[in-house]
Symmetry: C2
Subunit: 355 residues, 2 copies
């Protein structure tokens, strides 16, 4: 599964509508091919660890691209139809992404714990042989397995729902005829809009701080917590404060991750290379997963009746994952400036017009 554009570069005479149609037809086709496979996969493994499975991956891939195109090139589509489609695609995305997400999080956290507590003479970690490590490992494994099992049941149920059938029907229609507006906009300015949104999102990040390694942005110097987020921290004030602070600090980075994906998919539609964006996407994916894993470690540490040794190990794991968050931000800060110049210079592609 590569990330190369699926649409071949259209002949220069192709209109914006033709290009969009061809792209969505291809992606909707991929959706419909992957769907039964994904449904079969989910049904056939009641909890078995064989993810990421090909069908689900392909399905997620198509869902993301169709949703991205509907967002970026919104001016070319019937508004109500595009919005409804995007909402249904988001629903499926969230549904499908959960189980593989928990599996990746489990792999990430257990690998971190094993690395931190490894006691091989040629490369032990700071928790080498710590008595709390096996207990913390078992606790994380148990909690994530439970979360994954629940997500699995939810998928299993929703994959038989009328809602999914309606979405499949919607995709079938898309293969035949894309509901394009006759007076829809041009591709290039809309794609440029996605790049602009990304640039604006990146400008809002504290990149000057992130560009200094070991600046403490993941652990010590979180950004401002907006008033609404703070107001949400009532009863168990202490714990929720930290959660609110971390969530508020990570949020702009999570948003930029979405903007990177949208920019990638927009350039794919225009059959333009965007080599750097997939690297950025990976870095921000790592950021998101480390951020989520840190929350899981902090949550596990609040389990009643755990031993102090277990809690201590979870504190180390939490900090370790926040450090990964910080490292990902640093990596982003290193890659972004040059890439940003490249995107600025991207200019307008040969501008096809609506037929």
């Amino acid at each position: 599964m590569t990330d190369a554009p699926m649409t071949a570069p259209g002949p220069s005479t192709a209109t914006a509508g033709e290009i969009l149609s061809r792209h969505l037809t291809a992606q909707a086709g991929a959706f419909l091919r992957a769907l039964p496979q994904a449904v079969g996969e989910v049904g056939s493994r009641p909890g078995a660890v064989v993810l990421p499975s090909a069908g689900t991956s392909d399905l997620l891939r198509a869902v993301r691209r169709i949703g991205g195109a509907l967002h970026t090139f919104a001016a070319s589509f019937e508004e109500a139809w595009a919005e409804e489609s995007r909402r249904e695609l988001r629903w499926l995305l969230n549904l499908l992404a959960q189980e593989p997400g928990y599996l990746r999080r489990s792999a990430r956290l257990l690998a971190a714990l094993d690395s931190l507590s490894g006691s091989e003479p040629d490369g032990p970690g700071m928790l080498a042989g710590h008595a709390g490590a096996p207990k913390a490992r078992a606790l994380l494994d148990r909690q994530l397995t439970l979360a994954r099992t629940r997500a699995h049941s939810a998928v299993l149920q929703d994959l038989r729902s009328a809602r999914l059938h309606a979405l499949a029907d919607r995709m079938t229609l898309l293969v035949g005829e894309t509901p394009l507006l006759a007076a829809g906009g041009e591709l290039a300015p809309q794609a440029a809009g996605a790049l602009d949104a990304l640039a604006a999102g990146a400008r809002a990040l504290p990149l000057d701080r992130a560009s200094t390694p070991y600046g403490g942005d993941g652990l010590r110097r979180l950004g401002s917590v907006p008033a609404p987020a703070r107001a949400q921290a009532p009863a168990v004030r202490g714990l929720l404060d930290a959660d609110a602070a971390l969530a508020a600090d990570d949020a702009p980075w999570h948003r930029v991750r979405i903007l990177v994906k949208r920019a990638r998919y927009a350039l794919e539609v225009c059959a333009r290379p965007a080599a750097g964006l997939d690297g950025l996407d990976r870095v921000l994916g790592r950021h998101q997963e480390a951020s989520d894993a840190a929350v899981t470690a902090a949550t596990a540490a609040r389990t009643p009746r755990i031993t102090p040794a277990t809690a201590y190990v979870l504190g180390v794991v939490h900090a370790d994952q926040r450090l990964e968050v910080e490292a990902a931000r640093y990596a982003f800060g290193r890659q972004w400036p040059e890439l940003s110049l490249g995107l600025d210079a991207w200019g307008a592609p040969p501008a096809p017009r609506m037929a």
Copy 2:
């Protein structure tokens, strides 16, 4: 208190013996002036937090320089006398350094905890408002205050000892006549020996790993633990393993810190500038203090009957300090290569000969 050489550059006709004599006379004079002040300071504050006090700092400064000169220019001194003097100076250094060390460690750990648990809206930490933070803070404060009080009593007792009086007599003699060998060596090759030892020590460090930020050297990828260190881990196997691993990983860096100091002092004797070495000294001082603070956090987490929330916070603090260790190594790896070239080019100073 500046780190500029205390000996003015000797006229080019000065012999190695004259230069060493002048340097040691000046430092021994500083020792004798600072000693009563330091003794008075220690006696007058039964636990009061007024460190670092001027007298103790001046005394430590002179002790380090005399010890360094006796080591680096060993060929110029009577062997037995120099070795005995160094042993006694080391004893005083360890004695005097303990109390200020605990005070700095306390300040470092409590500041780290306050930063990690700070809940100001404009820059909260990952433990913002965490329920375990005040308890962990009180525990660390209590344990370090106890350690400091013990160190204080030990100093108070030993500053009245015959051993200190004998050392003071030894320093008084040094002001009058330095026991130099008639056939003692030249200064330049001996100073170059100190630089060579530093270069060799730095070569043994895993600088290729440390030069990548967020490489995990402080937390996850500790170096090999030598067999002897591992053999020392008997009864409480789990906990001692981690301690042994961390100690073995930090040891070569601590050794290089000593070598940096010796090289600094050797260049001071030769009245040569060594601007970069004091920066390196500071970085490795930070490395040492973070490493010691990490041990204190890990030790505090083993206190019986603490709550899981306290242990969790101590785990985060432990990881935070190991991250500081990693950051210091990275900073060293950035400064060393260029500085190393400068030291290589240092060449031989105008070579004074023994009279």
